[in-house]
Chain length 147, copies 2
């Protein structure tokens, strides 16, 4: 069961420039940043609001750290912009199965590591009316993205 | 001041098919639908979660009702997918001015009517690292999108 918009993932060419953009334009602040070697990204989470499932909604700014990662390919094809949307759930396996049982393809056979040791999977954008959709289970819901 | 992710706006070719997709894949339900003649769209709001400013976050599904509207042009160029993101604020004029004071262009000189009689403006995607950004002030925050 999905209980929140966890984040909106935005592909950017220069993470520091995008962080500064959101700070100046809207006052958003970075609450977490990390490098995810497997996903090939350097990323920052900007917290926007708390959600009624006890977690929060974020912007996730993503800069590629190598040319063969998904974000680098996206930037080459589309330029900067919204790369994916992510829904939060207490059980990423169940939420993935609920979707795949309707014929949607998941990108991974089992969840992989996402931001702040969350467990994530993606649903194929061609099966989701053009929207790359991530499903996220926080490592510890009370501490999501704040470790 | 921005207090929430209000919605993610998704361009679709067939509103009813996209509504059915989100119901089957994730269990999301329509809480409001309308036709906005000025924007040239038929739309549905799917409520995802409550937010700690007393409002909520939604998916907004948008189908064009004429060929010259922004959503029709987006579909022609990009196909279905995320069209814009929208931040909620108690004062759309102030939030717009906070952004334009940093050099970002607003699309309208004054707010226009959005979903459920909200007041909205957009920030130019070329000034926002590729992200078409909407700012939304609910007509009545306690009743946003539920009228």
């Amino acid at each position: 069961m999905i209980t929140r918009i966890d984040h909106i993932g935005i592909a950017c060419r220069d993470l520091d420039a995008s962080i500064e953009f959101y700070r100046r334009a809207h006052g958003f602040e970075v609450v977490h940043s990390e490098v995810n070697e497997e996903q090939g990204v350097r990323e920052a989470m900007l917290r926007i609001n708390g959600t009624d499932d006890g977690a929060a909604s974020y912007l996730q700014l993503l800069e590629p750290i190598r040319d063969d990662c998904a974000i680098a390919k996206y930037l080459e094809k589309h330029g900067e912009g919204v790369h994916h949307i992510a829904f939060g759930t207490a059980d990423v396996v169940a939420a993935t199965e609920a979707a795949t049982s309707t014929g949607i393809r998941a990108l991974y056979p089992a969840p992989r590591r996402g931001t702040s040791n969350s467990s994530i999977n993606f649903l194929h954008p061609k099966d989701c009316h053009g929207v790359l959709t991530e499903l996220v289970q926080a490592a510890d819901p009370a501490d999501a993205h704040h470790s």
